[in-house]
């Protein structure tokens, strides 16, 4: 049998891991809980803690606890955790490593492959960052699938009857809506839309602002300066939000919240559901607009929707159910578990990739339009940055589109290609996601044809290539990964860094993971160290050398890395010597 592939829902607030065994999906429990809070912290002993314990220490030690890291994924930033800087990928990797260990303990065997879910509206950079987090955690991310789609997969469970389903997925930090056609055992996504920075965290923030204002007005204190008080206010706001899903009023009591000139300040205030719903109304409006955009994208009328599936903890907010049933004329479904269905869908897809028999096949779409800029017209006038869409939103994945362009003046030997994501006819109003230059074109009259191919893979990651038609001269890129923006911080060093953090852990907690950690900590053989140094040197030359030399070097580096991975010391000799020769030749 093939190696087991696990399904992971890496959420803003909570994460889960699931597997399919004998055709049945199980969300794996750690102890008695199958939900792992997405919190990472450093405890009193300097050890790393993940999940419930990290969540619990957040009140006492906010400065050494991280929450909601998913909101920063894909951004070129770092967070402070006990005076150490970490990228969002590294923090996410710590959560993934924990989930991996939970799965390994349950399965009694090592796990190295995973399907990870991402919000449908995650951008290219956010998807790349998620894949990197997997790599740092020692997981081969065989596929990333969209969260609402995963939920639809779990919901469907092999139904044959044709129906249109609207999936409304409001999590801790992201919002997605997808319109799905379920028919003949195929889950076919017709359209997706969303907002990758909208979720329950924003609702909390509204309550926090309300409480801060109350403290300011009643006691004249600014609680923002006190990190411990802020942590308590944050937790109180969260709890009030949960209470208001069940009851019309919530009493917020935080005694001895802070001291003001020696007088203790107690926070005591009642929040009504009505006031709360007014606070979050704008956010709900944004989600409803997105619902309409998705419906339009699917070319369906409200009355064509047969069922609504709610996903994500934030959909427990009563006014969301109300708004949806007002719009569609019936109540959303509640028999699917809003917290667990995404992980279950990921596990089903993992089983499918692994060749196991599954009832449902998935066909997904991209929520974004991708294209380039060219000289054209905008509002009737000549404009150099007219957006030329190449892959349109709601196109099926995978997708490959080729567009032909021509050089604009005689003797033009190079073209700059910029790739944008967005819908605006002015390319400069869209999100620039990558650029490259095709050089060495023929010295001919203008009109030299250059074709540009855009390819979206099943993970929603974009690959771009350009080719001079007459000569076949080609240049291709995958949109740069986010980690490479950090000087000196490569995936490998990140991987070692996170592994060594785990090395300090109580080994009983981690079962099988322990042996893997020890392996990482063993000093590398001198041959391996030398090989790695050679690779570093080779990579430092990439900027300045011809693409032909670079290609040769990349091939050799790949061979060497594979041998290092396999601990094949003898196999290192030849490629390392060859690589050294090229470096010597280039430097002399």
């Amino acid at each position: 049998m093939n190696e087991i592939i696990i399904g992971i829902d890496l959420g803003t607030t909570n994460s889960e891991v699931a597997v399919v065994e004998q055709g049945k999906v199980t969300v794996i429990a750690d102890g008695d809980k199958n939900i792992l809070p997405s919190y990472v912290g450093i405890d009193d002993n300097g050890d790393i803690i993940v999940g419930e314990t990290a969540r619990n220490q957040y009140l006492a030690y906010p400065e050494r606890t991280i929450k909601s890291i998913k909101r920063l994924m894909g951004e070129n930033t770092q967070v402070n955790l006990a005076d150490q800087k970490y990228t969002p990928q590294e923090i996410s990797a710590i959560i993934l490593k924990r989930l991996k260990a939970i799965a390994e303990t349950y399965l009694g065997q090592p796990v190295s492959k995973a399907v990870i879910t991402v919000p449908a509206y995650f951008s290219d950079a956010q998807r790349q960052a998620t894949r990197e987090a997997g790599e740092i955690a020692g997981l081969d991310v065989v596929r990333m699938i969209n969260e609402p789609t995963a939920a639809a997969l779990a919901y469907d469970a092999g139904e044959q009857e044709k129906k249109h389903v609207l999936v409304y997925d409001l999590g801790g930090g992201t919002f997605d809506v997808s319109v799905v056609n379920i028919e003949a055992g195929v889950v076919e996504v017709l359209s997706s839309h969303g907002d990758n920075h909208l979720g329950g965290d924003d609702f909390d923030q509204q309550i926090i602002e309300y409480l801060l204002k109350h403290l300011q007005e009643t006691y004249g204190v600014d609680a923002r300066k006190h990190s411990k008080a802020m942590a308590r206010i944050t937790r109180a706001a969260e709890n009030a939000k949960f209470l208001l899903s069940e009851q019309p009023y919530a009493q917020i009591e935080e005694e001895y919240l802070l001291e003001n000139d020696g007088t203790p300040i107690h926070l005591s205030i009642e929040l009504s559901r009505m006031v709360y719903e007014e606070m979050i109304e704008d956010y709900i409006n944004v989600t409803m607009d997105a619902v309409h955009i998705a419906m339009k994208g699917a070319k369906l009328a409200m009355s064509d929707i047969d069922e609504i599936v709610l996903v994500g903890g934030s959909t427990r907010t009563p006014c969301i159910r109300e708004r949806l049933s007002n719009e569609f004329g019936f109540e959303p479904h509640s028999e699917v578990d809003a917290d667990l269905c995404v992980a279950m869908g990921a596990a089903i897809q993992a089983a499918m990739i692994n060749g196991q028999e599954v009832d449902t096949v998935l066909v997904d779409v991209t929520p974004y339009t991708y294209g380039t800029a060219a000289i054209g017209t905008l509002d009737g006038e000549s404009y150099p940055f007219m957006f030329v869409p190449i892959i349109h939103k709601n196109s099926v994945l995978p997708n490959r589109k080729v567009e032909a362009f021509a050089t604009s003046h005689d003797g033009q030997m190079a073209v700059d290609v910029t790739i944008y994501q967005g819908e605006d006819p002015d390319a400069l109003n869209n999100v620039k996601i990558g650029e490259f230059r095709v050089e060495g074109l023929q010295d001919v009259e203008r009109g030299n044809i250059v074709t540009l191919a855009l390819e979206l893979d099943l993970n929603g990651i974009l690959h771009v290539s350009a080719e001079e038609k007459a000569t076949g001269l080609e240049k291709s890129i995958t949109i740069e990964n986010a980690l490479s923006n950090f000087e000196g911080s490569t995936l490998d060093t990140a991987k070692q860094r996170i592994s060594s953090l785990f090395g300090q852990l109580d080994s009983s907690l981690y079962g099988q993971d322990e042996s893997l950690v020890i392996e990482h900590e063993q000093p590398a053989a001198p041959e391996i160290e030398a090989a790695q140094a050679t690779i570093k040197k080779a990579e430092s030359l990439f900027e300045t050398i011809s693409s032909e030399d670079k290609e040769d070097m990349v091939d050799l580096i790949e061979m060497i890395s594979a041998n290092i991975e396999a601990k094949d010391i003898a196999g290192l000799d030849k490629p390392v010597a060859e690589l050294n020769d090229i470096i010597y030749y280039l430097e002399s």
Binding site: P384, M386, F405, L458
Partner: protein, 111 residues
């Protein structure tokens, strides 16, 4: 080269629903996660003939399969009169047969 009808295994007079069913069955047999190429071929075939409009477009502009008498008969017997605006007619005339040359040669910006 197989026609989209042959690829999906449907008759040339199949209904929208029959074509959709055949496509979904092919997807089930060739999930995108297992065989991307095959899936893309099936999806492209489906897009070419999924509804009346795309079928007419396919019949008209895919040579040498098109039998113009048949296509015209089909268009006339479909009940709806084919209404072409001047703009659409012009677009039809401007289009070439080979799809790769239809792509507008839009001049690229050089900095």
């Amino acid at each position: 080269m197989k026609t989209p009808y042959q690829m999906l295994g449907v008759a040339s007079n199949a209904t929208d629903a029959e074509i959709k069913q055949a496509y979904l069955q092919k997807v089930k047999d060739n999930p995108p996660d297992r065989d991307q190429k095959q899936f893309q071929l099936m999806h492209d075939a489906y897009l070419k003939i999924k509804d009346e409009k795309s079928r007419l477009n396919y019949d008209l502009f895919t040579l040498p399969v098109a039998n113009f008498d048949e296509v015209v008969d089909k268009a006339l017997s479909s009940g709806k009169k084919p209404t072409l605006t001047a703009v659409q007619f012009k677009a039809l005339l401007a289009a070439s047969v080979d799809e790769s040359t239809i792509t507008q040669a839009i001049t690229m910006a050089e900095k």
